[in-house]
Symmetry: C2
């Protein structure tokens, strides 16, 4: 049911191309997964997601548990049926949201007492809760419940996070066991930016035989170099025959570097969130459409892009929509940014397969510089 | 270039079916025209507008003059090119917005001094301004600059509005004359709810030989019966061989009654505005999707509807989107309401052509009752 095949490796970097098979279809890696937090990728329809090339999307256990309720989603026939999405879905365990959104109460080895960011209701989250919730959602890939350390944090704090993440990985696996034919489970590696802790976490998680491995606790404020240092280290430790998922990364230069360091899967709200504020990804870097310079710019946002925005509309029109507060601006920008990011992963894959990844990587970085 | 042919008339009511030819294609009447105030029908792409069956849309001279500027639109090649819409466009003259949106200064026979609702800039609007602006926008159908009386208003006030509207109709026509091969001009009838003034306005406007006639100053707060009384009167006065456009009407029961009273064209923000607040049109009346009763309602919004929402999603999912503040809720509800309203006009047309309009009208009113 769940198989990962590496089809090509780069001779000079750690980059690899592969295919991950799931009950709802195959996912070609490297892959960017749009984030559908509340059972919708913001501003997009399922048809449009397929049109921009999405092969897998994310859902969030924490958000969906709170609203509409995992039981409501289950009654609808699971998340695929509820949101009318026919391709694979990966669900986050809620571990990250506990530390970023919820009003924290007590954290112990048992789990986390917190309050809903929606209505303040009390909530107890644990590995068992996370696995039951993801089971009700019926995602193709579930994630272990983990403890994400903030950045910066002390070595001691990060160490306790690693220990708890290992403990919770075992309990997540036990709770998931009965669903192993229908749902894959990924372990998550923590350890902040401490090489010894990353190494320890990777070894402790890898030995449990998960279907794949998430790399958590990065892209939380640390310098890019620190992120790359951790990925480089993990590239030598995580099993090569299993997919590696760098959680929360979507900034294009980070994707390209992480692919070079052996990462296969990515997710991030950046393309969608940036889209809603008029920030657009282009091969030359990010631009913001509200700039006066675009008032009479009757060219497409990105002439190399094949998305609906770039095929039909000009920068001048998009700027007008943005300035007028039109929903269509958020839609078109989101669609473009997703297409750009998904296509970047596709292009990386093609380059790896053609044995040209180092050249692709060099050319990408030469061109990409955010607008000032 | 601009031709209107009546293809069928109802034997028992004033309803008629027709075709209005324009430089950007034919429009089958009765027709509902979605409102694209700021060069976009809110939340919709041009492709989706065609998908819901829109054959003509509206733009607003006042809004587009202020933002992005009629000159910017002209430089883009006109409104069709600017917003990537290939079918006909009708533009409002700005007359209505003067009285509804702008901070009014002085109104005289010359025109209207007012302040922009966007940035407070001073603006002088006149028949000549309205015709030049609509010329720059390049719409297929332009509207005369008129003075819309509020409801309620005195007979004297309404009479001054009628006199000024007639005066401005003559100046609008003179300013438009040089564009008559490219753009049609519709006159507008005013007169509030006073039969003698409506009659006078209709006669004064009709004698000028406009391509079609707008009926303004209705649906501004008066009882429905008053609206129908005015339409009934105008049905006997306005030339039968020219299209009649009831401005600002989109509530389904009003559309059906107005068709029975000889109206051919409609526009209104109601379907789009209602959509953004989760109010949906159904054959049984309007419902609001936020109701708790829809939490586990896994049926479509309207099983008889062929729109993307009704074909793919449930009420429970839509309620969840609305409660979560997802843009997708506004999109799907808008799309459905537009499809419902456009289809209502299509169904009326089919009924007229089949000689079954009275039965269609009876059945519609039997079923349609807004949710309480």
């Amino acid at each position: 049911m769940f198989e990962f095949r590496v089809s090509a490796v780069c001779a000079k970097t750690g980059a690899r191309a592969g295919v991950l098979s799931t009950p709802h279809g195959d996912v070609k890696t490297p892959v960017f997964m749009p984030v559908g937090t509340a059972a919708a990728v913001k501003a997009m329809t399922p048809d449009e997601l397929e049109e921009v090339g999405a092969e897998i999307i994310l859902g969030n256990a924490y958000h969906l548990y709170l609203r509409p309720g995992a039981d409501v989603v289950a009654e609808a026939g699971g998340l695929h049926s509820f949101m009318s999405w026919r391709l694979p879905i990966l669900t986050d365990s809620g571990g990250f949201q506990v530390f970023s959104l919820a009003a924290l109460g007590k954290v112990s080895d048992d789990g986390v007492s917190c309050r809903s960011h929606v209505d303040g209701a009390a909530l107890f989250m644990s590995p068992e809760w996370a696995m039951e919730t993801q089971g009700l959602l019926g995602s193709d890939i579930a994630m272990c419940f983990d403890q994400c350390s903030p950045y910066p944090c002390s070595h001691d704090e990060a160490e306790r996070g690693v220990e708890r993440t290992t403990l919770w990985a075992a309990r997540s696996m036990a709770a998931w066991e009965k669903r192993r034919d229908k749902q894959a489970l990924f372990g998550i590696v923590q350890g902040s930016v401490f090489p010894d802790l990353r190494m320890r976490s990777a070894l402790e998680i890898a030995e449990r035989g998960f279907v794949g491995h998430g790399i958590g606790g990065l892209s939380v404020g640390e310098p890019h170099d620190k992120m790359y240092e951790m990925l480089s280290l993990l590239n030598g430790v995580l099993p090569e025959d299993k997919p590696r998922y760098l959680m929360g990364v979507g900034y294009p230069p980070n994707i390209v570097e992480a692919v070079a360091l052996g990462v296969d899967m990515f997710d991030c709200v950046l393309p969608t969130r940036d889209g809603r504020t008029g920030t657009l990804f282009t091969p030359s870097g990010r631009i913001n459409i509200k700039g006066k310079r675009y008032e009479r710019d009757f060219t497409p946002v990105d002439p190399e892009c094949d998305c609906y925005l770039c095929r039909n509309f000009t920068r001048a029109y998009l700027r007008h929509l943005y300035k007028s507060g039109e929903i269509l601006s958020a839609r078109l920008c989101t669609m473009h940014n997703l297409r750009f990011t998904i296509r970047l992963a596709e292009q990386a894959r093609e380059a790896i397969t053609a044995g040209e990844f180092p050249e692709f990587r060099r050319r990408f970085h030469e061109r990409f510089h955010d607008e000032r």
